[in-house]
């Protein structure tokens, strides 16, 4: 019985947890409520994932209303994977957040923080699960509004401007998406994605569809922070509470990338998007410039969070470049990198959070000899940093190997070469920090205090859980590659 209602539960549980948090008000109680809800969400996502993997697509009519009238949830391998990824990362970071938030957010506002977190999770999961184009926008707004709030919780005044800047950019992006969906509705009279996918081929030369396509492209590029529309991301990541950064880095942009995939591959179809509309002519240069330039920019950052933020934009570039290949192997590489990068970047931000917790700043040149003070945190940073570089046996290697061989298959040698070039930049920006942590003697005005003081276990354990997962996915990359390849097949195969 309950197994049939899983798609609804996926959304309803976190959505109900939010008002409960507001009612409970006491920080610990709110955290427990949020955590329990999140664990349930992970279980739901996991069982749906298994179900989809064995039995195929789940179609769920919300409230019993059939598709054109009501909203349909549509779960195939692609979004089952996304649901699992998002809920898992959120759950791990939520465990981690308790200590970190205690230190950085005023106690009186904790209940709002957890409520916003739950709403944001609801929005992200909703964007993944829904099969209705307008519903995507609704959930996008839920997640965005709560995200602006979460970012503004940062204890730095700059968090407010960062949040406001994101609000402006995010609203532009969201309205573009809304306009796009509106035009699609005008041209086809459908909002359900399956219907849209059927009707667009008849209307594909209509001006409304062309306009919709362009609005959606720009809107989604803003939301997923594709270079050069990534301006909001660095400030938002740097100034929001670190737990929020870790959460967003692993989920928010990834979900937008998923929506982009859904629109361009399932609804418009790869032949239309990448064939007739020449999407790769627009996206590929942006993606390649993104991963080369922003890896380069990351080298010169002195704030760890900002450095990782730029690195995130670069990684999004890899993913977009992989999408542009529009082939089975390219999509597989892109999806596997969504998973892999989500995990390592979250782990990296968590380790930076541990540093912030004990040292009080993330100014990398002042982290001399941090290794002697926080060895476990530094090891975590190094391990996930190696993953970012793409050293063999880490997840980064699996992603980059797939991406490069997919682009060679297509004959895009330059892309492969530039991916490698940007990996070399990654060696530089990670290596620079590691060198300071390991070797440099204190000589800065604000040196790290002497003596061993590791971050609390409540922060270390979730971080190492993620690193364990990343090592597992790195050593047996065929597991994630198999999932990603099924997801890619689901996307390329279109709606059944």
């Amino acid at each position: 019985m309950i197994a049939d209602q899983l798609p609804a539960l996926q959304i309803v549980i976190p959505m109900l947890a939010a008002p409960l948090c507001v009612l409970a008000k006491r920080p610990l109680a709110c955290w427990v409520i949020a955590l329990v809800a999140n664990v349930l969400v992970v279980i739901t996502a996991w069982s749906m994932f298994l179900q989809v993997r064995s039995d195929g697509v789940i179609r769920y009519e919300l409230g019993g209303w059939a598709a054109p009238t009501g909203i349909e949830y549509y779960v195939d391998m692609m979004n089952a994977t996304m649901l699992l990824l998002v809920s898992f990362i959120s759950c791990v970071v939520l465990v981690y957040a308790y200590k970190s938030v205690n230190k950085s957010v005023i106690t009186a506002k904790h209940y709002l923080f957890y409520a916003a977190w739950m709403l944001c999770l609801t929005g992200l999961l909703g964007m993944c699960i829904t099969g209705d184009a307008f519903n995507v926008f609704v959930f996008l707004e839920i997640s965005s509004l709560s995200m602006y709030m979460l970012i503004a919780f940062g204890n730095d005044k700059r968090a407010l401007t960062a949040s406001f800047r994101y609000l402006i950019m995010g609203s532009i992006g969201a309205s573009f998406i809304l306009i796009g969906i509106g035009f699609l509705y005008a041209a086809t009279g459908a909002l359900n994605m399956v219907d849209l996918a059927q009707r667009i081929p008849d209307a594909e030369s209509e001006r409304a569809v062309l306009v919709a396509f362009s609005f959606l492209t720009i809107g989604l590029m803003i939301k997923s922070a594709v270079f050069p529309l990534h301006g909001w991301l660095a400030n938002a990541y740097q100034h929001s509470p670190i737990a929020v950064t870790a959460f967003l880095a692993g989920t928010a942009t990834k979900v937008s990338l998923y929506v982009l995939l859904r629109f361009f591959f399932s609804i418009f179809g790869p032949n239309y998007s990448f064939g007739a509309m020449l999407l790769n002519v627009v996206l590929l240069p942006a993606a390649v410039a993104g991963f080369v330039l922003l890896s380069l920019v990351a080298i010169f950052q002195t704030d760890l969070r900002r450095m990782l933020a730029y690195s995130s934009v670069a990684q999004i570039g890899y993913i977009i470049a992989a999408f542009c290949l529009a082939s089975q192997s390219g999509l597989t590489a892109g999806i596997v990198h969504i998973i892999n990068h989500g995990i390592i970047k979250t782990a990296l931000f968590m380790s930076v959070g541990c540093i912030l917790y004990r040292v009080g700043h993330t100014h990398s040149p002042s982290l001399d000899n941090l290794f002697h003070k926080m060895p476990l945190t530094c090891i975590a940073f190094i391990l996930s940093g190696l993953g970012l570089i793409g050293v063999p046996l880490t997840v980064g290697f699996v992603s980059k190997f797939s991406l490069i061989s997919a682009s060679m298959e297509r004959g895009w040698w330059m892309v492969g070469a530039l991916v490698l070039l940007s990996s070399l930049f990654a060696i530089l920006y990670i290596g620079r920090v590691v060198e300071i942590m390991l070797f440099r003697k204190a000589r800065n005005p604000v040196p790290v205090p002497i003596g061993r003081s590791e971050a609390p276990l409540m922060m270390l354990i979730p971080m190492y859980v993620l690193i364990g997962v990343s090592i597992w996915f790195g050593v047996s990359g065929s597991t994630t590659l198999a999932v990603a390849s099924e997801a890619a097949a689901a996307l390329l195969g279109g709606y059944q």
Partner: protein, 484 residues
């Protein structure tokens, strides 16, 4: 015997090293020696199974959709594994004397990283496919990084930066694209007798570019211009320079090239397409130029480092000549050079510990204070030069023969020129130690290195001589290589 066992002793000993730590350092070092003996035993078992023609391989771990990690034993790998495990024991004994005599800090970390590096070397030696070899190759770079930067001062940090940058940039920027290219073209990365690229339909130019990517991308082989890291890495403690930067790490580089030439390209493909003739001049240049640079170095370890670069290029040259004789000679030279060069480095370290001298010009008359060390240095130098009664002569003969077989005698000229240069920059060191009067009055009597170090030096020097008289087992083993 499953080759995975070779990873067990060096990895298993790490917790013991950490547990015993600085407080019970005798136990710590004893545990490493036990692990070393166990590893040697395992390698010996593998050796005898390979001799008797059994298939020695492990299960596989699939890290990418079509490619997996897998270990298996083949003659070159067995030889390399035996070499590294034997010298690990000797070097550990040597380190006991050296590290304590030199009051090095963080010895526990040192031994841990050392054991880790040895485990990675085993992975490289028994790699069954190019992916495994690549993974082990990268792991060696990372695990030896803390050893290079061991001293923690500015010089070692700079050296570490150069080390990581050149090796990683080479491997990720050049070698990895080659690996991926091979994977896309051939659909497999396995090491197969006769190579996998014959049917891949690559043009001659593509084969040439691939080969160049491999030769220059494998920075550990130190072919110019990728050689700069090696002299810089000499800031590491001498046991590291001795085992890693004369044997394990650099030999992994040339070993990789030998394996790629034999089992990925196949020697026939290289000799029929003739692409190697575009790369050989670079290698020959390295042989001669680094010998010349070695001349100018007054620092003993720096001179030895440049000598290593030149000797490594012999092996690369042997690989690129791509005849059965030259590749056999190259593989043999891995062993022969290893014993000679490790002896020289051990001696350099002993001199540093006992006399606190690092410059060659300060060694006048020191033969009287360290006669055993200096005699061993002499033997090691003979081994490197390739003069009887020391080991290097056989491998040089084979490489020279291979050059004739390949129909190009010019490379013999390069070898001989470099041999002459070897004589000129190595032999004066023991000669001036024995025959020149000391610059300052010296105290009477011997000041040899601590006993463990002295033992290690004599073992490797003796091995140099023994290998001259009994090279046959090694040649027999290499005779089992399947070329086609």
């Amino acid at each position: 015997m499953n080759p995975l066992w070779t990873l067990v002793p060096p990895l298993l000993v790490i917790p013991f090293i950490i547990y015993f730590g600085e407080r019970r350092r005798n136990l710590r070092e004893a545990s490493i020696i036990v692990a070393g003996l166990a590893l040697l035993g395992i390698n010996d078992r593998i050796y005898s199974s390979v001799l008797s023609g059994q298939v020695v391989e492990s299960g596989e771990l699939s890290i990418l959709a079509n490619f997996s990690l897998r270990l298996s034993a083949e003659p070159m790998g067995v030889l390399f594994g035996l070499l590294a495990s034997f010298l690990w024991i000797v070097t550990t004994v040597y380190s006991i004397g050296y590290m304590r005599g030199h009051d090095e800090k963080n010895q526990t970390r040192f031994y841990c990283c050392f054991a880790l590096a040895i485990a990675c070397v085993m992975g490289a030696a028994y790699a069954d496919n190019l992916l495994t070899l690549f993974v082990a190759y990268e792991a060696i770079t990372l695990s030896t990084f803390p050893l290079v930067t061991h001293a923690g001062n500015d010089a070692s940090r700079k050296a570490g930066r150069l080390y990581l940058l050149l090796l990683m940039c080479g491997s990720i920027g050049l070698f990895l694209p080659a690996v991926i290219w091979i994977a896309t073209a051939a659909g497999t990365l396995d090491f197969v007798a006769g190579g996998i690229l014959a049917d891949a339909g690559l043009s001659k130019g593509a084969v040439g570019i691939l080969l160049a990517l491999c030769v220059f991308g494998v920075g550990k082989a130190a072919v110019m211009p990728m050689h700069r890291w090696l002299p810089a890495a000499m800031v590491a403690p001498t046991p590291v320079s001795a085992l890693l930067h004369a044997v394990a790490v650099v030999k992994t580089g040339v070993f990789t090239i030998l394996k790629v030439v034999t089992y990925t390209f196949g020697i026939d493909m290289i000799s029929t397409t003739g692409v190697a003739s575009y790369i050989l001049p670079f290698v020959a240049f390295t042989v001669v130029a680094s010998s010349l640079i070695a001349f100018t170095k007054d620092n003993l370890k720096a001179r030895l480092a440049y000598s290593t670069i030149s000797q490594l290029s012999y092996i690369v040259m042997a690989a690129l000549l791509a005849t059965t004789m030259s590749v056999t000679g190259g593989a043999l030279h891995i062993v022969m050079h290893a014993f000679g060069k490790i002896t020289l480095f051990f001696c350099a370290g002993a001199i540093m510990v006992s006399l606190h001298k690092t410059q060659i010009s300060d060694l006048d008359g020191m033969g009287r204070r360290m006669p055993i060390t200096m005699i061993c240095f002499f033997i090691g130098a003979l081994g490197i030069i390739g003069l009887p009664p020391a080991s290097g002569v056989w491998s040089k003969l084979l490489i020279a023969g291979g050059s004739l077989e390949a129909g190009n005698a010019i490379w013999i000229g390069v070898l001989m020129l470099s041999t002459l240069l070897n004589i000129a920059y190595l032999l004066p060191i023991p000669l001036r130690a024995f025959f020149k009067p000391p610059k300052e009055p010296q105290p009477e009597g011997w000041t040899e290195a601590p006993f463990p170090s002295l033992w290690a030096i004599t073992v490797t020097a003796t091995a140099c001589v023994l290998l001259f008289f009994f090279p046959q087992p090694l040649i027999n083993l290499l005779g089992l290589i399947q070329w086609r």
